[in-house]
């Protein structure tokens, strides 16, 4: 959420009320903004700085990203003012300032809008807020100027009609804002390469064949969007007439930005809330129009919908009154008593659907004042997920058998998942991340072992032996799936002690599988702990009954002769479901473990 800093006492003056910290906090809470900080009591605040409030604004309220917006909406909410009637100066189109768009702009930044604020009175505070709003809009809605960028000019230093063109970088020559030297587009890119503020915007156009540029009638460069304005037309505290040009790659956001910029600051014009329009001539893409639109949208909203969702039984008139607090102008529909006509002011770009209006009814009424009703409608039946039931059996049996449950991370480094376990990445197994901030998060684990071994590594000071388990998901690439990957629920255990603990891990496997009603199938004699459905088979792989058996394996993860694969036979089908064994000493070394470790890992999905 964007945070806006405003002068505390100027805001209170604008609101016509001296709030206490609690009452202002309460107002913010009810309205849905958040008072983040009040520097009144902050001892680090420089003595010459007035106390500030840092206010967090919901991410879709672009019209509250400045002092003027916050003050206006809070005043409307508190019934201290009504929504201003923003209007365009009534002049014929041929008398309007014009921006003619060249088709070349399609190659880089196709859309433009313009507006003029006449006879504006800047004060240092207003000026700062004017710059601040542009900055906040650039950061948020405009996604770091990629979608929209704003240029503002002293109209008295330039002369319309204007053109919006796109030229080869070397053909654009001007003195950028606050510079003294003239430079072309190429030189400008180099000049701002390491600029802390502007450097991050260069990529938006740098490699384009043409750069966008706004010229006045005398071919004076006004700006090179989205990077910088020219020094020639810069606005100052003394500027009276402001020419605003806005360029964009997204037309919807262009119009939103244009409306908000002029709505917030037209307040300071001689004729408040009146904006001089600019005609955009853009025949090649059919966007010839007059900007800003300042379009007030009228929505027909059902009275029943508003009342039902909020659990209210308000009359259309009273709903309209509530909506007035949220800057709408709403009136009951004269023809249809079931509807109200809601006018959405041009600044409320966040209102897309009747549900947005409905939320505002609830806010105006006060969320915490809404009548509470029984939450019970239809009765439903609770149901656990079967794989979680199986997991819980295994987790609880492990704990009962004296093992400690751990919860390592799911993301790990490629090395931890493969090389350190002496495993080879065949490229068909692991899901890989494109943009991790750290090497710790390169792949989604395909085994629970890295997490267990890292947990042992971090717990070497705990009394031996350590016996840990985890029952959780791994993920595997799977081209047959819509998302090209699937999760698999695994159960794993690790024993860390002065002896390998191989038989301990083996015993845990037997215990867990017998608790899952799977019997051991073997041709060995002298096996203890025979369960009721214990079977003896001479050759386990040919036997038909259900059960599990193990077979020695030679895999580099494990110490030779101390590892086995676990096979499960269900309904005549035999498949490998996991493995256990003593880890190879080279694996221990990689995970910085000093004592032998035996591990076990089993796929639990097969028990569903």
């Amino acid at each position: 959420m964007p945070t806006i800093n405003v002068d505390k006492y100027r805001l209170f003056e604008e609101l016509g009320e001296q709030f206490t910290p609690d009452t202002f906090q309460q107002l913010c809470f009810e309205f849905g903004i958040e008072l983040d900080k009040d520097t009144e009591e902050d001892e680090t605040r420089p003595k010459d700085q007035a106390p500030e409030l840092a206010i967090e604004i919901p991410a879709n309220r672009y019209d509250m990203l400045c002092f003027e917006g916050i003050a206006m909406y809070l005043n409307i909410f508190r019934g201290k003012q009504t929504t201003p009637n923003f209007k365009l100066l009534d002049i014929p189109e041929d008398k309007m300032q014009k921006i003619t768009v060249s088709p070349e702009t399609e190659k880089v930044r196709p859309y433009v809008a313009g507006a003029i604020l006449r006879n504006l009175k800047f004060t240092p505070e207003r000026y700062e807020s004017f710059i601040g709003l542009q900055d906040k809009l650039h950061q948020n809605l405009a996604r770091q100027r990629t979608l929209v960028s704003i240029g503002t000019h002293d109209l008295d230093t330039i002369q319309g009609p204007f053109t919006y063109e796109a030229l080869a970088p070397k053909d654009i020559n001007f003195v950028p804002l606050n510079q003294t030297k003239k430079m072309n587009g190429q030189e400008l890119m180099e000049f701002y390469e390491s600029d802390k503020h502007l450097g991050r915007y260069l990529h938006i156009i740098r490699d384009k064949p043409v750069y966008p540029v706004i010229f006045d009638a005398n071919k004076t460069v006004c700006s090179l969007p989205p990077i910088i304005n020219s020094d020639h037309s810069k606005i100052t505290l003394d500027t009276k007439n402001v020419f605003i040009e806005i360029t964009a790659t997204d037309q919807t956001k262009l119009d939103i930005v244009c409306n908000i910029m002029v709505a917030m600051f037209s307040k300071y014009c001689d004729e408040p809330f009146t904006i001089e329009p600019v005609k955009i001539v853009s025949e090649h893409n059919g966007t010839t129009r007059v900007t800003p639109s300042l379009h007030t949208r009228v929505m027909d909203v059902e009275v029943d919908y508003l009342n039902q969702c909020c659990g209210l039984q308000e009359s259309p008139e009273s709903l309209c009154k509530l909506l007035g607090k949220m800057a709408y102008t709403a009136v009951p529909d004269k023809e249809d008593a079931k509807l109200i006509k809601v006018s959405v002011p041009p600044t409320r770009a966040d209102v897309l659907h009747a549900c947005d209006v409905m939320e505002d009814v609830a806010i105006a009424y006060g969320y915490n004042n809404l009548p509470r009703t029984s939450p019970n409608q239809a009765s439903t039946i609770g149901k656990p997920l079967m794989i979680n039931k199986v997991s819980d059996i295994v987790r609880n049996e492990c704990a009962m058998a004296g093992w400690i449950e751990v919860m390592p991370l799911i993301l790990c480094s490629h090395e931890e998942n493969f090389e350190w376990l002496n495993r080879v990445d065949d490229g068909q197994t692991a899901v890989k991340l494109a943009n991790p901030k750290s090497v710790e998060y390169q792949v989604v684990r395909t085994s629970l072992l890295p997490g267990l071994l890292k947990t042992l590594r971090e717990n070497k000071s705990v009394r031996l032996p350590l016996k840990i388990t985890e029952v959780a998901d791994i993920a595997l690439k799977d081209e047959t799936k819509e998302r090209k990957a699937r999760n698999e629920r695994h159960f794993a255990a690790a024993f860390y002690g002065k002896t390998s603990g191989f038989e301990v891990v083996h015993g845990l496997l037997d215990r867990i599988l017998s608790m899952l009603r799977v019997s051991f199938v073997t041709h060995e004699e002298d096996l203890h702990g025979k369960s009721i459905d214990y079977k003896v088979a001479e050759n386990p792989s040919e036997e038909k009954g259900n059960g599990y058996f193990i077979k020695e394996i030679d895999e580099p993860t494990f110490f030779q002769g101390r590892a086995a694969a676990i096979y499960l036979r269900l309904g005549g089908e035999t498949r490998r479901i996991g493995e256990f064994g003593v880890l190879h000493p080279t694996v221990l070394e990689k995970f910085d473990l000093r004592y032998p470790v035996s591990v076990l890992e089993v796929n639990l999905e097969v028990f569903l």
């Binding site: 009810e30 979608l147 009703t373 400690i404 899901v431 494109a434 901030k437 947990t455």
Partner: protein
């Protein structure tokens, strides 16, 4: 473990000796009867006997004076002043300092001794600067005093004792000894004691006559070394139980990898939304891209192509009474693979399937779903942020739901977690409208703290799926880690989730009992 009172062989003998000595005379002073026994051995033997009421005893504390090495020397050779006098007495002509030092052979003795001898008027100085004896006979009191101390370990005159101590000739130490009386169960022999009741004793009936060693009730019992469940999973289980109590069905959350479609677009999160930035979401480089949404089982007969079209339309052009975001929606962007940033991707999938169900009235059935599972954010890791955490999510789909009902439900749900008197704050979330942040008063912090997020899913999301307009859906979520951290007083999330957890912490974490006041 509570060990039985420890008994070594030597204290065994000593105890018997004490009983024998006590039989002859009482009270018995340990310092007289057993001068060579150490305090520790004596105390152990006496405690053993006393615990059986065979003896009772008092501890006597007294001070004992001991000679320092310098005093030992004085006992052997006389005091420094006496030695100076003796040396001078033998030399008729008197001695210079140097000669005196040679005669005695210890500069230090000369230095201290001559001063003291002058004071006693035993010696004087001649005109040529030599020392000479003037007394006829001297009485070496210092030596006598020290000898007294050596013999009696003290001196009858406390002033002298203090003076010797000040002169660093003696040191004192506290000595404990015991005054021992017979106890009510006095006997000459300690009866044989059993440490534990055994099967043999029960079989033989020996328990009837046996004496049992007393148990140490002040110590802890034996360590159990038991297994343990992870505290996060314990809280998770409590929350699952709350959901089950309230009729919720657990959602299959077995998809860490999601497409942008399910994770964002289906939820009406626009493609330029900051949550979709590389800064916030993990994108997948391998595998490359998702397939178009499609049925994942043969009995799923929904038209996924229509759904895809609806989602595109509602974003790009507006639909279902919404003006939409009005931007060119990209199918490629939608098929990019991500690690799910929330389990709401699963909820979307479930609600889309719900739209195909038909109740008795031909409309989709009301439903309650929940899940608690891992989600991923491309966060910079710190004490309160990890790239992974668990999201607790609940969804209620029904007809005629109201905001008041949602709030009342939250009051019941969080009430089961022990959180009451909730406050709701308007908030923004791209897929819920209205959106409500849920706050509860935290007694420890003395302020309202945010405990979760909730709202009604937007029509753009639900109607794209084919759910009827009058079916409303609540959704709410919270993290599993935060309530667990509060419950167990943990300030660093890395001590809870991940490999840096302390196994002893896992083992020692008590049960959760959410809702217990």
């Amino acid at each position: 473990m509570a060990p039985p009172t420890n008994t070594t062989a030597s204290s065994e003998d000593l105890a018997t000796d004490i009983l024998a000595a006590l039989d002859k005379s009482q009270p018995l002073l340990s310092s007289d009867a057993f001068p060579s026994a150490t305090f520790v051995d004596l105390k152990a033997a006496l405690d053993r006997l006393a615990s059986r009421e065979m003896v009772r005893y008092d501890t006597i504390e007294r001070q004992e004076a001991l000679l320092e090495p310098e005093a030992e020397q004085i006992v052997a050779n006389g005091s420094h002043e006496a030695r100076v006098f003796e040396a001078l007495r033998k030399a008729v002509e008197g001695l210079s300092v140097k000669e005196l030092e040679e005669a005695i052979g210890d500069k230090n003795v000369v230095k201290i001794g001559q001063g003291k001898a002058f004071k006693e008027k035993w010696i004087s100085k001649t005109k040529d600067g030599k020392f000479t004896a003037v007394a006829d006979k001297i009485n070496d009191t210092t030596q006598e005093q020290i000898k007294t101390v050596q013999q009696t370990k003290t001196h009858p005159d406390p002033k002298i004792l203090a003076d010797l101590k000040k002169r660093k000739l003696i040191r004192t130490q506290n000595i404990f000894s015991f005054k021992i009386h017979k106890g009510p169960k006095f006997a000459l022999k300690i009866p044989e004691e059993a440490t534990d009741l055994t099967a043999d004793m029960i079989a033989s009936g020996a328990w009837k006559t046996a004496t049992f060693k007393p148990y140490n009730f002040k110590a802890l019992g034996a360590t159990q070394n038991g297994g343990a469940l992870h505290p996060l999973n314990k809280v998770r289980q409590e929350l699952r139980n709350i959901f089950f109590e309230m009729g919720f069905e657990e959602m299959p959350t077995d998809k860490f990898v999601e497409s942008g479609f399910w994770n964002f677009d289906a939820l009406f999160v626009p493609q330029q939304h900051p949550a979709r930035d590389l800064q916030d979401t993990f994108y997948i480089s391998d595998p490359k891209a998702a397939d178009f949404p499609r049925a994942d089982s043969p009995d799923d007969t929904k038209d996924y192509q229509a759904y895809w079209g609806n989602v595109k339309a509602v974003h790009q052009d507006g639909k279902y009474g919404s003006i939409g975001y009005r931007y060119p929606w990209s199918g490629d962007e939608s098929l990019r693979l991500v690690l799910r940033t929330h389990t709401t991707a699963i909820s979307a999938n479930m609600l889309h399937k719900l739209a195909a169900t038909k109740g008795p009235d031909g409309r989709p059935l009301p439903a309650r779903y929940f899940s608690i599972d891992r989600v991923f954010r491309n966060e910079t890791v710190d004490a309160t942020h990890l790239a992974e955490f668990h999201q607790v999510e609940g969804v209620i789909a029904d007809y005629g739901l109201t905001l008041g009902g949602l709030m009342e439900f939250m009051e019941i749900f969080f009430g089961k977690m022990g959180l009451h008197d909730l406050q709701f704050k308007p908030a923004y979330n791209p897929y819920t409208e209205p959106s409500m942040e849920i706050f509860a008063y935290h007694k420890g912090l003395g302020k309202l703290v945010e405990i979760g997020n909730s709202g009604m899913f937007r029509a753009e999301m639900l109607e794209s799926m084919g759910l009827p307009k009058d079916m409303r859906v609540f959704g709410w979520g919270l993290s599993l880690e935060r309530p667990t951290m509060i419950k167990y007083g943990i300030s660093n999330i890395r001590e809870l989730l991940g490999h840096k957890v302390d196994l002893e912490f896992v083992q020692g974490s008590p049960a959760v009992l959410l809702g217990q006041e």
